[in-house]
Amino acid sequence: MSPLKIKKGSTSHSAYNLRPTFSDVQERHTLAAIVENEPGVLARVIGLFSGRGYNIESLTVAEVDHEGHLSRITIVTTGTPQVIVQIKAQLGRIVSVHEVHDLTVEGPAVERELAMFKVAGTGDKRIEALRLAEIFRANVVDSTLESFVFEITGDPKKIDAFADLMRPLGLQEVARTGVAALSRGAQ
């Protein structure tokens, strides 16, 4: 048997160049997982994303049912439609995960995020920051003579917009909670 004369560095050297020919359109989805509130459950979810190379844009987690030992993890992720389906299937088969919901496809949903902005400045810039905060319905939760801390709640895009406006006005620091989301309606 003689060698196949494959050029050095060609991908034929690898057994792993076999990517599927699925669609490469990137979609953004908000997923909610109801999980057992036990040690390590967050590590399982994060480990799944890092181990299989999926993206996490934002992740929030907190206990939602103390009696039932349940927490809700809200994950915003991006990927091709096929990857999104895989993520849901992979999440669903973690033993501590009770339910997985894709809020992006299961009908209308509301998404909210809380953020705090520290803005430092004096004179016109300071007045302008306060004026814009009022327009965005942000609250002042801390104030000194040359700084404010604003608290704002809303759709992530609204928070992005507020951040863009604050940047030239002396934005020092931002803290964001990540997205919490619920489907609309009675169910």
Binding site: M1, S2, P3, L4, K5, I6, K8, T11, S12, H13, S14, A15, Y16, N17, L18, R19, P20, T21, F22, E36, P39, G40, A43, R44, G47, G51, Q82, V85, Q86, A89, Q90, G92, R93, I94, V95, S96, H98
Partner: protein
């Protein structure tokens, strides 16, 4: 408490290795006779032995090891079991709860380390929860897609007294769906009734589902007369002597099996997962077929290959429904189309892709396996393998009539799997013939387990095809890396006969084709463990082969086929 929980789960055998953090459990084991403990020589050996035991019996395998290095040594076996969906329960000792996080002696973050290589794992901090967790561990390991689980038990939890929960009182929310969706099953049956070129593509899931699944599959194949092929993990779910059997498919699968997969118009995947060793180039994988996929794991469906009819459920449940619906709809198949399809398949069979020439005294590995098959096929036989060329040859040249007779490391490809696995199988079936088909390099990776075989008088036969090479690595280097044989030969090999004697086993050396039959008979006749050193042709390559990145119909066939015309072009048959 632990021993009681194991007894209530019907455990009769535990593979393990003691250490400081599991001494309380070993103390309990010492004081009872219901559970047999097999002392291995390395914790990796314990996990593979448990895998062999599980695969040969259909029951979960149980492992007991200590904290720290005991647990980390078990990681390879856990990963192997995860990839091949083998149910094993690993109990690890842990440092006392009040010392966790202090870098105590033999402390490791066992649940952290094993989280990605188990189906689920638990750290038990309260003795009251211990029995409940162990029962849940058995439930999780064996339901849905089976897999390995681990329970980490700190030493103070082992010592303390607590309340015991019997298995029937354990509550669990983990209950995967087993019944398939009837609408999809109807769709599949409709496709089956009209398909001109159907093929069953079966995998390890059939065997994991249980004997009922195997029976139903055989019934369905007989009723429809569709051809059937299987992955490495699924060998035995349909008898190798059955008339619809095409042989194994995949990278080193049979020509007729791969060609049938490529040309079919209906592919029915039963418990296989479109692994990259099976599909080859994905955009050229079976381009003309409608694909149905029956699997219990939703993440396996549409992961690699988009399918037209996804059926989520347990194989046995789904096949039962498929058969029922097919019968109700009048047992129809496209007879005319099928007849043509079989004509085509018989043409492919004529290629005789496994033929080889045994000339002279040097033993060809294929010949060694052919003779082994001939001399053992009537026996109550179990085969384990290591990983490499010998594994592929064993899959090609040995025939399996029943499930649970073939244990091999498929997904992870763990060299060193076969010897401990053969021990696990022999423990489960003490009267049967258990042969580990090995390569010399793989075999050396867990050869310490010969001590276990000798200690427990387990008459495992280690059939080593010794080519003094890492044969599969060498083959890839020859074909793909310009014949630069970087570190792929075995130097300073031990004298295997003396090694066998040093362990207290029997050693047999055979380097002449004329003596092979007698030597194999001698191995079979010996009532004890044997190391059979079969010196074979050093540069034999394993064919057929689908080079990676190629499609199923671009297989390479062997030297026997290409004869003198062995330039690269000539050997690529379309």
């Amino acid at each position: 408490m632990v021993v009681q929980a194991l007894k209530d789960q019907g455990v009769d055998t535990v593979f393990g290795y003691p250490g400081g953090a599991v001494l309380p459990i070993y103390d309990e084991i010492f004081q009872q006779n219901d559970i047999k403990h097999i002392l291995v020589r390395h914790e990796q050996g314990a996990t593979h032995a448990a895998e062999g035991y599980a695969r040969a019996t259909g029951k979960p395998g149980v492992v007991l090891v200590t904290s720290g290095p005991g647990a980390t040594n078990a990681v390879t076996g856990l990963t192997d079991a995860l990839m091949d969906s083998i149910p094993i329960i690993v109990l690890t000792g842990q440092v006392p709860t009040f010392m966790i996080g202090s870098d105590a002696f033999q402390e490791a973050d066992t649940v952290g380390i094993t989280r990605p290589c188990t189906k689920h794992n638990w750290l038990v901090k309260e003795t009251d929860n211990l029995s409940g967790v162990i029962h849940e561990a058995f439930h999780v390991a064996t339901s849905g897609r089976p897999g390995p689980v681990l329970v980490d038990i700190p030493k103070d939890v082992q010592f303390a007294n607590g309340s015991y929960t019997p298995p029937e009182q354990v509550q669990t929310h983990y209950n995967p769906q087993v019944k398939g969706d009837m609408a999809e099953i109807e769709k599949l049956v409709d496709l089956m009734m009209t398909a001109k070129k159907p093929v069953f593509y079966t995998g390890g899931g059939v065997i994991n589902s249980g004997l009922a699944a195997t029976q139903l599959l055989r019934e369905l194949v007989a009723a429809t007369d569709f051809p059937i092929t299987s992955t490495l993990m699924g060998l035995g779910c349909y008898p190798a002597s059955g008339k619809n059997w095409l042989g194994m498919l995949g990278m080193h699968g049979l020509y007729e099996a791969n060609m049938a997969m490529h040309d079919c118009d209906l592919m029915i995947n039963v418990g296989a997962r479109f692994d990259d060793r099976i599909t080859g180039r994905i955009d050229a994988f079976s381009p003309k077929s409608k694909k149905a996929h029956i699997d219990i794991d939703p993440s396996s469906i549409n992961k690699v290959i988009r399918v037209d009819v996804p059926i989520l459920g347990d194989i046995a449940h789904v096949l039962e429904d498929v058969l029922r619906v097919w019968k109700a709809k009048g047992r129809k198949t496209n007879k005319e189309g099928l007849a043509k399809w079989w004509d085509q398949i018989n043409e492919w069979r004529k290629v005789d892709c496994l033929k080889f020439k045994q000339q002279g005294k040097t033993i060809k590995p294929q010949y060694a396996l052919q003779r082994l098959e001939e001399l053992t096929k009537g026996h109550d036989r179990y085969i384990t393998t290591e990983v490499g060329q010998h594994q592929m040859w064993a899959a090609q040249y040995l025939g399996f009539e029943d499930p649970n007779r073939w244990m091999t490391s498929g997904g992870l490809g763990t060299m060193g799997y076969g010897t401990p696995a053969s021990i696990g199988v022999q423990v489960a079936h003490p009267e049967s013939l258990v042969i580990n088909v090995a390569g010399e390099a793989s075999w050396l990776m867990n050869m310490q387990e010969m001590g276990t075989a000798v200690q427990y008088r387990l008459p495992v036969k280690q059939f080593i095809l010794n080519n003094e090479r890492l044969g599969m690595v060498r083959q890839w280097q020859e074909l793909l890396h310009g014949e630069r044989y970087s570190h792929s030969w075995s130097e300073a090999l031990p004298d295997f006969v003396k090694l066998a004697e040093a362990f207290g086993a029997k050693g047999i050396l055979c380097d002449n084709a004329d003596d092979l039959d007698e030597a194999i008979k001698e191995m079979l006749a010996y009532d004890g463990p044997v190391i059979f050193d079969c010196l074979v042709e050093k540069h034999e390559n394993c064919f057929p082969m689908i080079p990676s990145g190629k499609a199923h119909n671009e297989m390479l066939l062997g030297e026997a086929e290409t004869q003198g015309a062995i330039d690269a072009k000539g050997s690529v048959l379309v």
